[in-house]
């Protein structure tokens, strides 16, 4: 029973919260720019393409929202054009006259004339576009929209999107097949599924003639499929896609024994793709790690025109692995037909086909090979340089300084530490390995080392916009980021000496700077849709549908307080503990960016927002929801997606 005075107090408090609730706590585009507020102007080269004649190198500079033109002969920057916010990917038209650059935070593609090296027009895409390619005729552009999990097909004659094709989760990179018949899309995150099953990731194959998804190629046991390379038909014609292969439900105590997080590549044979009928091509997996050393975060991939070499960059190891394709083919022939994953966990494979491990700059993200096949160019994102590899001598012969600032700020050092696997035992992984693409969650449930091994498995959480959301960990035991990333990380995660106090300072400064990207469910004009407005009313409601007062602790905003990033920053028991948990209450997660955080709950049991209430709230412990009808639940979900 609530006293009348208390009711007034509650009403006033709710009203105040409602008024003050930061409707747009998720960062706007300007908010993201704030992430670089103390940035002296780092270039952050993220992707590159070589012109068809080989005389120019076009480098996408994420940090300065620009594309640089580099003379491959003099290795000097000879031009620059400004594009949209946070450019990510680059494609070149088949006739070599036009560049296309995706702008992740502008939701657009900049079309650049190579004759004038100026923007010709800007094409609208879906949200957060990254990878892109034209078709073989240059008539259509395919753009991966990471936050909407689909691919925009844009008619280049009109500049308009004509359709969207659904990918899997966080489609990041695309590749036009050598014969032009397919566009392949790599998805960073695994398909949603039961947390206790190994992850299954997807390469989405699009038939360019029908412009339809023709196959969803399953790559079992791995996550983070990255850039795609294809060897020439004469060398096998298969695709190579770097991946990370986690053993996430083994306790972290396994890390000192190695083999906990391995890095390799999927070998996909498109020749066996069946159009539309669900006949998936053969997928084999091989590791790029050695037994006692790992090459974390395979990201860039390319092959030489003659098919002799393949190059895979290990972004957190600052290494490019040179693969002798003939030797790889010999190894692949040993894989039995009935067991395509026979080598998926073998750490003794790479030595049979990797002929060189070349040191690059920091965070080598992309690699491109010159048309002549003489050189490979690698963008070193956190060095503002491009490494030039001679494919004759298999050596780094030059490093092109793109002209970034010499000053290294705390944030820059923190970001370099975040992307550095040297701090982990045998270089197995870096922070970014489990928090890719600017601090995302990898979407996996992990078995941390607790007193009862195998218990207390927990869902990985995003690092974006965690400032002000302490304490950390699902058990709320780490009061601040310094505790989270200091000795604890060294002892339980990296199994090494870990970071020095200064490094912890740098790293945590960087973590605090991470912000959520613009939200696709959020109207930049500030208006809520009718459904979102109804959902907000439900979020802030104080009475059930039949008029009964909802106890304060059972209201949404009590635990997910808007003024503190939609978390009360305490542990709460919402009835979601299972027999595998040794605690009953969990840290209340912040809700900002919740639309992109699936799966949900501490162990990742709820695959969608709806399931939090339809499956895992049978006794109304996670807020009063049993009185809500389906339309109300849909409205609530629509509101939550705006946060």
């Amino acid at each position: 029973m609530v006293h009348r005075g208390s009711r007034w107090a509650i009403s006033i408090a709710v009203g105040t919260l409602w008024l003050l609730a930061p409707r747009r706590l998720a960062a706007s585009g300007a908010g993201w720019s704030g992430r670089w507020a103390t940035d002296p102007g780092y270039l952050n080269p993220i992707d590159l393409k070589v012109s068809p004649h080989g005389r120019r190198l076009y480098v996408v500079c994420q940090g300065t929202d620009a594309v640089l033109a580099v003379d491959t002969r003099t290795r000097q920057v000879v031009g620059q054009v400004k594009v949209g916010q946070k450019p990510e990917g680059i494609a070149i038209s088949p006739d070599g006259k036009t560049l296309y650059v995706s702008n992740e935070h502008s939701n657009s593609v900049s079309e650049i004339s190579l004759r004038s090296f100026q923007i010709r027009r800007t094409l609208k895409t879906g949200w957060a576009p990254v990878g892109l390619t034209t078709d073989r005729a240059g008539r259509y552009l395919y753009v991966a929209n990471t936050l909407e999990n689909d691919v925009s097909v844009i008619d280049l004659s009109t500049g308009r999107e004509i359709k969207r094709l659904e990918a899997s989760r966080f489609p990041e990179y695309v590749k036009l097949s050598r014969h032009g018949g397919h566009v392949y899309v790599s998805n960073l995150l695994a398909r949603l599924g039961p947390y206790y099953d190994p992850p299954v990731s997807e390469i989405t194959a699009i038939d360019t003639r029908r412009q339809e998804v023709s196959a969803r190629i399953s790559v079992p046991g791995v996550i983070q499929l990255r850039r795609i390379a294809q060897v020439p038909r004469s060398a096998g014609g298969y695709l190579l896609v770097p991946f990370m292969r986690p053993k996430n439900l083994n306790a972290l105590i396994q890390i000192p024994q190695g083999w906990y997080l391995t890095h390799g590549m999927a070998v996909i044979w498109p020749s066996k793709t069946g159009a539309g009928g669900g006949q998936e091509p053969r997928v084999e997996e091989v590791l790029l790690d050695d037994i006692d050393h790992y090459y974390a975060d395979g990201t860039g991939a390319a092959t030489s025109p003659n098919g002799r070499w393949a190059l895979i960059t290990a972004a957190s190891a600052n290494v490019v692995s040179i693969i002798n394709v003939d030797r790889l083919n010999r190894l692949l022939k040993q894989i039995p037909t009935h067991d395509p994953n026979a080598l998926a966990d073998r750490l003794d494979s790479a030595r049979q086909f990797v002929v060189g491990r070349l040191r690059t700059g920091r965070d080598p993200t992309a690699v491109a090979v010159s048309p002549s096949g003489h050189f490979a160019y690698i963008t070193n994102r956190l060095d503002d340089t491009v490494s030039v590899v001679s494919l004759r001598s298999l050596r780094v012969v030059s490093t092109i300084n793109l002209g970034g600032p010499k000053e290294i700020t705390i944030l820059r050092r923190g970001e370099q530490l975040f992307h550095d696997a040297r701090f982990c035992y045998e270089g197995q992984f870096a922070c970014v390995t489990c928090h890719p693409h600017g601090g995302l969650s990898d979407g996996l449930t992990w078995s941390f080392e607790t007193p009862k091994l195998g218990h207390d498995v927990v869902q990985n959480r995003t690092l974006r916009s965690i400032e002000g959301t302490s304490p950390f960990k699902w058990n709320g035991m780490n009061p601040n980021l310094e505790t989270q990333d200091g000795p604890r990380t060294a002892m339980y995660i990296f199994r090494s000496q870990g970071f020095s106090p200064n490094e912890v300072r740098d790293l945590t400064s960087f973590l605090r700077s991470l912000r959520l990207p613009p939200n696709p469910n959020d109207d930049p004009g500030g208006d809520l849709t009718p459904a979102q407005a109804r959902g907000r009313a439900i979020f802030f409601r104080t009475k059930t549908n039949d008029g009964a007062l909802i106890p304060l602790k059972d209201r949404c905003y009590y635990c997910h307080a808007p003024l503190t990033h939609y978390t009360s920053r305490v542990r709460m028991d919402v009835g979601t503990a299972t027999r595998h948990d040794t605690i009953q209450s969990f840290d209340v997660p912040q809700l900002q960016g919740v639309y992109m955080r699936a799966p949900y709950l501490h162990n990742g049991e709820a695959l969608t927002l709806e399931e939090i209430w339809t499956k895992f709230n049978p006794h109304d412990q996670h807020g009063i929801s049993s009185d809500m009808n389906k339309a109300q639940l849909n409205d609530l979900v629509e509101f939550l997606k705006t946060l």
Partner: protein, 378 residues
């Protein structure tokens, strides 16, 4: 003289051609060759609820899965074991832009894309109810008729909208069928008549039986024949929607209703499970056969097995001859016998493939092709 002669001849020729055309129209082409898909050729047994055509592919929703027929052969039958949301597939729609196949099942909504199913259920998504009777694609939106109202799913944003008795003029939320056109959405509500959603105005308009729940029609063309509407179709050429009810066939041209009963037309039965239209044709899937109505010539043709009265609902036709009944506007009838027939007289739905038709029946899927006209051989 010569010009006058020319004009005479031209007039005579026009008259002859017009008469011939009228004669031809009065003698519509008939579907007399039937190929049936039953367990005998790898098709699931029992009811076929829905059918959709995509080029050379035919998708059939059955009581035991979603069947894919390619080039006349059953290529695959998808069931829950393959990831389908439910085995009873009540409706199928194909997105013409993406090629994705949407299946409404009694276990939720399934999207088949690139060889994999992705399911949307009441528990895992914003789907109003797992009993999905109808599905239609309208650009980026998928419209869903469920036992608890109409859903709209935005494939770009993932947002779900629900319309039911709480926010729209639904007398009954139990929706049996749905059709999407560029401007309007048409819904068949079982017990609630026809509801039409105006996409530009964002409002619903109900069409119900003016007689209420009476099972007789007081005034023939006063309004919708009955509120128990089992199916809905829109014909852009006629600018009419057609509603199948359990008490007759109704068409509405925006001003007038055009109702048809067995007693005053060639309709095989007033118990109609579904309706489809093509050109001037309206096809009613009834419990006593498949009735085709030419809206222009007013000629009716009904197809069914010759021994349909003796048929057990649970048994498929085996090597039965077919029966074709042509009913002209003056009431004259002509009955023909064909060597092959529909798989069963209890028809549920239909789809067009060029001139061919695919008919969902209680005991298999039937593929019909034109062989002769009502006046004789073609």
């Amino acid at each position: 003289m010569r010009p006058r002669l020319f004009y005479r001849w031209r007039t005579a020729l026009l008259l002859i051609l017009t008469a011939a055309a009228r004669l031809a129209a009065q003698n519509p082409p008939l579907y007399t060759k039937w190929i049936n898909y039953t367990p005998a050729n790898g098709f699931p047994e029992g009811e076929v609820y829905s059918v959709a055509v995509e080029g050379h592919r035919v998708w059939a929703g059955t009581a035991h899965g979603l069947a894919l027929i390619e080039n006349g052969r059953v290529r695959k039958v998808f069931t829950t074991a393959n990831g389908l949301a439910g085995d009873a597939v009540m409706s199928v729609a194909i997105d013409p832009r993406t090629g994705d196949v949407w299946a409404g099942t009694f276990g939720g909504l399934s999207r088949y894309s690139g060889g994999r199913f992705k399911n949307y259920t009441n528990l895992s998504s914003g789907l109003a109810n797992d009993l999905v009777y109808g599905v239609a694609v309208q650009g980026r939106y998928v419209w869903v008729a469920t036992a608890a109202g109409v859903n709209r799913f935005d494939t770009y944003t993932g947002a779900w909208s629900i319309w039911n008795e709480t926010n729209a003029p639904f007398e009954e939320p139990w929706c049996y069928g749905i059709v999407a056109t560029p401007k309007k959405i048409y819904v068949a509500a079982w017990g609630g008549g026809v509801l039409v959603y105006d996409l530009a105005g964002r409002y619903w308009k109900p069409y119900t039986d003016p007689d209420g729940s009476m099972e007789i029609v007081l005034y023939r063309n006063e309004g919708l024949i009955h509120n128990i509407v089992s199916g809905i179709a829109y014909n852009s050429a006629m600018r009419m929607f057609w509603a199948s009810t359990y008490f007759g066939l109704s068409g509405f041209d925006g001003r007038n209703w055009h109702n048809y009963l067995t007693k005053d037309s060639g309709l095989a039965s007033n118990f109609i499970n579904g309706v489809q239209t093509r050109g001037n044709e309206v096809w009613a899937c009834t419990q006593k056969g498949l009735s085709e109505f030419d809206y222009k010539t007013k000629v009716w043709v009904t197809y069914r097995p010759a021994n349909w009265r003796a048929l057990d609902a649970a048994k498929a036709v085996k090597d039965s001859p077919g029966e074709v009944i042509v009913t002209w506007p003056d009431g004259k009838k002509r009955k023909l016998t064909t060597a092959t027939s529909l798989a069963h007289n209890y028809t549920l739905n239909l789809a067009f493939q060029g001139k061919d038709i695919w008919v969902a029946t209680a005991q298999g899927l039937s593929h019909g092709t034109i062989q002769i006209s009502a006046g004789g051989k073609n």
